[in-house]
Symmetry: C2
Subunit: 393 residues, 2 copies
Amino acid sequence: MKITAVDAFYLSMPEVLDIGDGSQDMLLIRVRAGDHTGWGECETSPLTSIASLVCPMSHSACQPVLASVLRQNLNGPADIGRIAGEVRARSLDLLQADHTLSGIEIALWDLLGKAVDEPVHALLGCRTAAPKTPYASALFADTPQQTLDKARHLRTQGFRAVKFGWGPYGRSTVAADADQVHAAREGLGADVVLLVDAGTVWGEDVEAAALRLPSLEQAGVLWLEEPFVSGALRAYQALARRSGSVRLAAGEGAHNAQLAEHLIDYGGIGFVQIDTGRIGGIGDAFRVAGYARERGVRFVNHTFTSHLALSASLQPFAGSGADWLCEYPVEAKTLATTLTSNRITIDGNGQITAPRQPGLGMRLDLDAVRPYLLDIEVAVKGRTLYRTPDLVP
Amino acid sequence: MKITAVDAFYLSMPEVLDIGDGSQDMLLIRVRAGDHTGWGECETSPLTSIASLVCPMSHSACQPVLASVLRQNLNGPADIGRIAGEVRARSLDLLQADHTLSGIEIALWDLLGKAVDEPVHALLGCRTAAPKTPYASALFADTPQQTLDKARHLRTQGFRAVKFGWGPYGRSTVAADADQVHAAREGLGADVVLLVDAGTVWGEDVEAAALRLPSLEQAGVLWLEEPFVSGALRAYQALARRSGSVRLAAGEGAHNAQLAEHLIDYGGIGFVQIDTGRIGGIGDAFRVAGYARERGVRFVNHTFTSHLALSASLQPFAGSGADWLCEYPVEAKTLATTLTSNRITIDGNGQITAPRQPGLGMRLDLDAVRPYLLDIEVAVKGRTLYRTPDLVP
């Protein structure tokens, strides 16, 4: 098959709020080859990624992403790796390219799986997908009491693992943070896995993070996520040496496999969190999952948006029973929940499994999301380089 | 002072060729505060960076770069650090932001220097700028004889240091690469510093790179640059342990200070090469220069474009006599050479020094570059978010 079209669609909620909720917009990618269509979602700034798709060439290593994808042959998994490699080489100096590539690469896997009638994880060599325990991601509420209520509610919904993060955490006193964490534990009860996400709030400040460790240990928190910005390897390593029973988790910001591997090699993390919509797609995430497994580090997806993104994020570690946790979006905006007409649901054991249907196994409801589509136009020297294509034929 | 305007200008040669020449276009940034104007150049894909400046917010950590700069106070160096920090935090998930920030941050230093009548390096605590030995960057020619002729020509031009790279190097046999390196040495003579740039040709393949070490040692090559992609820290470290008198050089791809520091901490490099137009600006480059100095690693600029960019790249290590080498563009396109009406020239000792004039010390010739300015329009939902502003009032 030859890739005949790569289209990008910027969808957005009517109002985007200044909160840590990444499901308020999306860049949806549609790829066509042969008689098949594949879909992927980039975790990105949509307008910026659209520009990276169609921008004029700056030099041989700063080319628009589209130039390395259109008209390529796509007949097997090796072609996807080759195309991603070409994007990386020819857009080496185009920083945004990794985020843009991610959605395209995911769409290529979806398309290939549909063409050969196999789920993506089967194309990666995994015949049966292992069930995962989904954790609910929630924001810390403004007050400990509200966090406690939220935790109780998530427990009654049947979640066996819950992550609280962002909101006021790390932004006032050590005591206030402890109150929040203890409220979360009280609301969840003793038997639900509790994870805490600091959202890079301490930058590179090891001591500020270390002051929170006692309350995290007391509350039996499994991991402390992103105490620091993702490049602060020395800070991660220093905190890991002092964190006792609390493991460190990081990696969502990795925009290539090597950045995630550095957190494993030099940062001392116990969980590596990969967003397939950012790291370059399913192939890079699969590489990291194998790398982590060999070193006793657990792989976890990072997913905050649609079930299309969730399916893409489950594929790279679907075959690994040891990687038992997965992130499961519970507070996504209607744009994200409306995108697919089927969903990856939690079974009677409180677990989820990557879809068995071909490709990513998700059916898109294009009519339902069309109202969220933004009209975009980008013109250079009077020539239109991008105009929003038709979403529904 | 309050920052009242941040304008971006996409300038391009009429024809952009598919060659490794980064001087074919530029994104020029103009910042205004009080009665002053500052200029900076981003080393970036211009259209993609324009989108990152003005894109709609996606969520609290994915905001347009402009939102963190406009209307900020600018009264001293600490304000520049604070503004850069805000961009990094509020555009954490906007990958392109680092390249965009770089030009803005440089323009802020230029503006502040002009406002207080001091060169930028003085604002960084350096009263007298140390002279640097510029090296000429040239491509390996197709045959060893042509490379020899090129080397002879550069020697007669008075260069005390020359870098050869790219072209056929690393792409055929070990013997052919040795012939190229020996030809370069023969043409330069024994007393000119010879540097070799492999342009990431071996990916992560340590053995392929190690096979070239004997010829590099025999030819007295000071550094082997970018044998691997910049994230391949394990490969860098493994090669550094075997490289004898040949030091490794890398870092031009670093889009924040930490990525460059990782090459020092874990990659075993001897020279760290920083492009202020990519790393986040002069502040980040200055941080890396200090970090390198404490660890016995030499700092070198990476500059392939205008003398505005060259001045910006000299400021962070102007005060360090130990960091004696600097990259000096010798084959830049007319857009880059036309941008400034003054130039940083090579003195009688074959050395260059950061300008002593306020700010970056460069005078822009806006009338001369206006023909290269591209008309751009970016519209979302019928609302124009960006239209090329007036370059000349």
